[in-house]
C-alpha cells in the first residue's frame, strides 16, 4: 500500500503520497546519467574481462598444442637416443673388455705367441678368449683374468688324448705365466669318433692384479 512511497513512516495525520520514483533529478550536478553509465560500465567491463580470459585461454591452448608437438618429436628423438645409448653400452662393454685385457699384467701378444708356439702339432686352436671371473680372495671379491683355449686334437685314443695333459703341463710351465698363474684346468674332451677328433677346452686362470 504505502510501500510504493519512500516515506512509509509518517507523522500523525500526515501520510505522504509522493511518488519518489518519478520525481525529476534536480541535483546541482545531475547524476541520474551515472546510473546508466554504471549500468553500462559493469557489463562492458565484464564482457572485456571474459574476452581477455578467452583470448588467454586460446593462447594457452595454442601453446599446449605446440608443446604437444614438440613433446612427440622429443619422444621419437629420445627413443633414438635410448637405442644409441644401448648400442653405446654394448660397445662400451666390449671396449672395457679390451681395455681390461690391455691394461692387465699380461703382454697379450707374448701370451698368444707363447700359447701358439707351445702347441703340439696334433692340436689345433680354434679360439683363444679372454675374460674376467669373480673370485673371493680372503673377504674380498676380485676380478681375475681367465684365458680360455678351445680347439681340437687329432685322434681319440688314450695315448693321443694324453697329449692334452702334456699340453696342459706345458702351459702351466710357460715362462709368460710365471708368478701370475693360478690354475690350468682341462675338462674331459669330447670325442668325435667319425672325424677322429677330440674337442677340448683348456681354462687358464690367472691371479688378480691385487692378489
Amino acid at each position: 500500500m504505502a510501500a510504493k512511497h519512500k516515506n512509509v513512516s509518517f507523522p500523525n495525520w500526515h501520510p505522504n503520497f509522493t511518488i519518489q520514483a518519478t520525481l525529476p533529478d534536480v541535483k546541482v550536478v545531475r547524476t541520474g546519467f551515472l546510473v546508466n553509465f554504471v549500468a553500462l560500465t559493469f557489463p562492458v567491463l565484464l564482457i572485456g574481462l571474459i574476452l581477455v580470459d578467452w583470448m588467454d585461454a586460446q593462447g594457452l591452448q595454442q601453446q599446449i598444442e605446440t608443446r604437444k608437438q614438440l613433446l612427440e618429436g622429443a619422444i621419437v628423438e629420445n627413443k633414438k637416443n635410448v637405442e644409441k645409448s644401448k648400442e653405446f653400452d654394448i660397445a662400451a662393454a666390449k671396449l672395457n673388455d679390451v681395455e681390461g685385457f690391455l691394461s692387465g699384467n699380461l703382454d697379450e701378444l707374448e701370451v698368444i705367441v707363447a700359447i701358439a708356439e707351445s702347441r703340439p702339432k696334433a692340436i689345433a686352436l680354434n679360439n683363444i678368449s679372454y675374460s674376467e671371473m669373480q673370485k673371493k680372495v680372503g673377504k674380498k671379491m676380485v676380478l681375475a683374468p681367465r684365458i680360455t683355449l678351445r680347439g681340437v686334437l687329432k685322434g681319440t685314443s688314450a695315448d693321443e688324448v694324453s697329449m692334452l695333459d702334456e699340453y696342459k703341463a706345458t702351459l702351466k710351465n710357460l715362462p709368460v705365466f710365471a708368478g701370475i698363474l693360478d690354475d690350468v684346468t682341462l675338462p674331459e674332451p669330447t670325442q668325435d669318433i667319425d672325424k677322429d677328433l677330440s674337442r677340448f677346452s683348456i681354462t687358464i686362470d690367472l691371479k688378480a692384479a691385487d692378489e
Binding site: 500523525n12 495525520w13 500526515h14 501520510p15 511518488i19 520525481l23
Partner: protein, 347 residues
Amino acid sequence: MLKPSTKGLFVELSEYSLLAARTSRLKPPFTIEAVEECTLTDDKQIDNWLGNFMGLNKGQFCIGVCGVYPPNRLIRRASLENPARAKDPAFLPDYLKQQFKVDVATHSVAVLNAAGGSEFNITKGFSRELVFCGAPTSEFQTLQDRLVSFGIYPERIELSTVSLLGGLVSYSELKERTAPTMVLEIASENAQVLIYQGNQLDVARPIPYGLNSMYPIVQKELGLKDEASARKLFTSNTFDFTEMGGVLLKKLLKELQASTGFYEVQTGQTIGEIFLSLLPDNLNWIGSTLSRTLGVDVLVPEYGDWLQSHSIEVSDSVDLLNLGSRWFGLFSLMGNFNENIEHNKKK
C-alpha cells in the same frame, strides 16, 4: 535544478485554486513570510507566478510540502472486529477490496489509527478503529506531475482532507472544545462528511452529491438557458444564493441530517460545530445555510494562537484575519501533530 535556498513553500492545490505560503524554513519553528492565492486558469501562468513568489530562475525548483484533493480520493473509517487478523499481510488489502472496493494494486492507501492519526503499525500497538485514506495512484501521479510543472519539488504530497483533520483536531484541543465537530468538504462531483471528537475521527462518509448537482436546480429556479450559464452564475460572485440555499442544498442536507442523526443516536453526543473546507469565499452562503438548517455553529478558525502553539510565527505583512476557513488546509500542512497539546499550550 533546486534553488539553493532555505525558504519553505507550502501549497494546497484544489479544483478551485492554488493556495501558497512562503516560510522562513520548511520545518517549524519558522515564520510565515507571505501567503497568496493563484487561480487555476493557466498552468503556465502558475509557473511564472510561483517563480515570482519564491524568487526562482527559469528551470529552478523549490522544495515544497503540498496538499492535494485527488478527484477519487478515499477517506474511510473502519472498526476491526478482530484486530489480531491485521497481522496477516493479506488481511488489510482484502479488507479494503471487500469493504470499499479499493484495489491496492492501483491505489496508494495509508492506514491511520482513528485516534490521534498515527500510522497504523501492527508492531507498535494500534487501536481497532482505523482510517483508510488514499486515492488511485494515477491521480497522485497526475497531481505530482502538475506540481513539478509549476516548479515545485514535492517533499511531501498529502491528502489535504487528512492533514486538515489533524489541524482541526489540534485546534479543538487547544481551544478545549469537547463537542463533536462535523467537517464538510464539498467538491464538484461529491462531498465528504467527517465527524471527530477529541482526537478521534468517528465518522468518515462520502456523499454522492457535489456542486454539480446544484447547477440544474439553479438553471430551473432562475430560468437560465443551460447548465453552463447556471454554473457561470454560481461561481461568479454576482448573485446572492442565500435565499435559494435551502433548495440547492436539499439533497446534501438530507444526507447530513442522516449522518448527524445516526451519530447523535449512537453516541448520545450533539454535534457542536460544523466546519466547511475547500469552498471558495463566494460560496460562504453554504455555511450559513447549513448552520441555520442543522442548528449548529460554523467553526471560524482563529489562526494566530493555534499557529503559535505549533511554533509558527506570522509576518506582519500577513493579515490572518482576512484568511477564511479555506486556508486552514494550507496551515494544517505546517503543523506537527505528534506533539502533545499540553506541551503546545505551555509554549
